[in-house]
């Protein structure tokens, strides 16, 4: 538990009630959703707490006002700022005009909403991670729009049968419901009610390449990853460059900010897709089942050994239901997916699609990219990339 210096608080007991009354509006500026009920609860706590022990006031108010780990972590700074007039001044929630990015031809497009405003409530300025550098920062403008599109994709995923489902067996009678129904008919079970099985949630594993060449698309891809965690799916999110890291817990939050650099220290520059996929199968093999959908987000620039990539993709495709490769460069005029990474991958993936912004994501979803194909993958002819001899891999200029 962090310690804050509360000396000086007791001097303000005369104005404490007014300070508590002003605290909720103060917290709202920093994204806390608190109001009069919390103020009333805080005042009740004042009656119970020993004001000669300032820590007690701090602990009591924290339990009343904070409702999530993010708020829990930022509360000490805000408490200190409001009650002691010292401590870090965090950036307030602002409503500002969107930056005009119309000149930006590619990259994550910013969708201008009707109010032309943008909320920075959960961005680093107002968070406990103030000043942190973000390796992946979610584009807060797009979160809800991306989520709406991903929701449409949900229907395309096959739901595996639930735990209680009995394959090949007859449906079972729901005895409780049948008896309840029979009470209406003098205890005669005239209508049988059958047990209804709820299908399990589809499993999705999302792998995002965070090498330098993908930097431009990082905000959109982070929003995309977040949207998968907000739906009725068993989703797992990984990022990779030379290694792989599971980031589900960092992304699956109601108010996602992004992933800070400090949380990805073990990932170095460069892209080794084969090694990352091997690590996925080796360490997280339990996630890869015959109902799992795997989505790889990468431009295919691979600096690893082509044979490792091939064998990793082969074994992965044999284990899972459906593999989709999202390559944000596919929409670029003149781009051909003939780099060694993409060439090796194509025989093992079911769909290769261009997704780089909201519109292209919508198009991809409308083209049913997650609808499993019953036929096995038809291997495409292997096109050897003349620019990258075997064993060397691609040279990614931006890494």
């Amino acid at each position: 538990m962090e310690r804050i210096d509360l000396s000086g608080l007791t001097k303000m007991t005369a104005t404490l009630i007014r300070q508590v009354q002003d605290f909720a509006p103060f917290l709202r500026k920093y994204g806390f959703r608190v109001g009069t009920p919390e103020t009333l609860a805080a005042l009740k706590c004042l009656e119970e707490a020993d004001l000669s022990m300032p820590e007690q006031l701090f602990f009591a108010l924290r339990s009343v006002y904070a409702r999530s780990p993010v708020e829990w972590a930022s509360f000490p700074h805000l408490f200190e700022r409001h009650f002691l007039n010292r401590g870090t001044r965090l950036e307030e929630k602002k409503r500002v005009q969107l930056e005009d990015r119309s000149g930006h031809s590619r990259g994550p497009a910013v969708t201008q909403d009707h109010s032309s405003t943008v909320s920075f409530a959960m961005q680093p300025g107002s968070s406990p991670n103030q000043g942190e550098r973000y390796a992946l920062q979610a584009d807060s403008n797009q979160l809800q729009a991306v989520l709406a599109v991903t929701k449409r994709a949900l229907r395309q995923f096959d739901s595996p049968p639930g735990r209680r489902f009995r394959r090949g067996g007859r449906d079972r009678v729901n005895l409780r419901a049948t008896m309840r129904e029979s009470v209406r008919y003098a205890g005669e079970p005239l209508r049988l009610r059958w047990q209804q099985y709820r299908p399990d949630r589809p499993s999705v594993v999302l792998l995002i390449d965070i090498s330098g060449s993908m930097k431009e698309y990082a905000p959109f891809m982070t929003a995309l990853a977040w949207s998968f965690t907000r739906l009725r799916l068993r989703s797992e999110v990984f990022v990779f460059s030379t290694r792989l890291k599971r980031v589900t817990h960092l992304v699956a939050r109601k108010a996602v900010k992004g992933i800070t650099v400090s949380e990805l220290t073990e990932l170095k520059g460069g892209t080794r897709i084969g090694e990352a996929l091997e690590e996925l199968q080796h360490r997280y093999g339990g996630l890869l089942r015959r109902h799992t959908f795997v989505i790889i987000v990468s431009d295919g620039f691979d600096a690893g050994h082509p044979e490792r990539l091939r064998s990793a993709l082969q074994s992965l495709s044999e284990r899972v239901r459906h593999m989709v490769w999202i390559n944000p460069l596919l929409g670029d005029p003149g781009y051909e997916p003939i780099s060694s990474g993409m060439t090796i991958a194509r025989p093992y993936i079911h769909r290769l699609v261009d997704v780089h912004d909201l519109d292209s994501w919508r198009e991809a979803v409308e083209s049913q990219i997650f609808r499993p194909i019953s036929d096995p993958v038809t291997p495409l002819p292997l096109i050897l990339d003349s620019a990258s001899p075997s064993g060397e891999g691609d040279t990614n200029p931006e890494v």
């Binding site: 538990m1 959703r33 009920p37 919390e38 609860a41 009740k44 706590c45 119970e48 707490a49 020993d50 000669s52 022990m53 820590e55 007690q56 602990f59 009591a60 924290r62 339990s63 009343v64 904070a66 409702r67 999530s68 780990p69 829990w72 409780r176 008896m179 309840r180 029979s182 009470v183 003098a186 205890g187 709820r198 890291k245 599971r246 817990h249 699956a252 939050r253 109601k254 073990e266 080796h282 360490r283 997280y284 093999g285 339990g286």
Partner: protein, 287 residues
Amino acid sequence: MNNHVEKLKKNLREANYVADEGLAMVLYLAQRLGRPLLLEGPAGVGKTALAKAVSAVRGVELIRLQCYEGLDAAHALYDWDYPKQLLMTRATLSGEAGNTAPDIYTDRFLIERPLLRALKTKPAPVLLIDEVDRADEEFEALLLEFLSEFQITIPERGSFRAAEPPTVILTSNRTRDLSDALRRRCLYYWLDYPSVEQEAAIIALHVPDVAPAIARQIARAVRRLRKWSLLKPPGMAETIDWARAVAELAAGELDETVTQLTLGCLLKTQEDMELVREKGLAQLWNA
């Protein structure tokens, strides 16, 4: 007032639970204000154990509702004993139970599930609603009336209100976000992994055979493990298991061989075992 918090802290310690001042204060407030306490934090930090300790301290029953996907009112609140109702109906029809129309919606036919039982039990028990994040959102909505009014409405019978509100502790591992409506009704506490000193104190409390120096060494090793990207980072239960195993095997000494032999107490997946072996066991017992 300070005495109450200190006393609660001391009582919890006697019930084998090490709570810091913040947690003791929030627990005290939850009891005084009659508000439910929502505990969030990683798995295995002692959220469930806290409810057990509170019931031991207060000397009252602990009623536990384990949440899971698909949990509904019939399993959490109440249900009617349909077979008994059916028998009564048939007995009435055949004249064995008299000629008057039977009332089949009485206490005789009511099956009390944990939430209803918590309202009716005296003295007021400790109600643990464990891993509420595993339940569906519909179940959360079901909890709202209970948490704000300590009341359950049964359409056939009316509302039941607790004469003595129970102490309610909800736990969540954050596998999904809980609704704002639920959070607003609770006091909140983020229970994180304990510091090395706290963890060593917990080990000493549960495994008195372990020397203080070894307890600290174990606490440091576990802390280091939690920083590695493990699938299942060890919680407090694993730490205590490990300390017990070390006490059994090593007679007070922790080295690479003992660590190797007892790794199964700490790590629960093959993938994590391999990762730790790759990184080197020496990093643990030298932590």
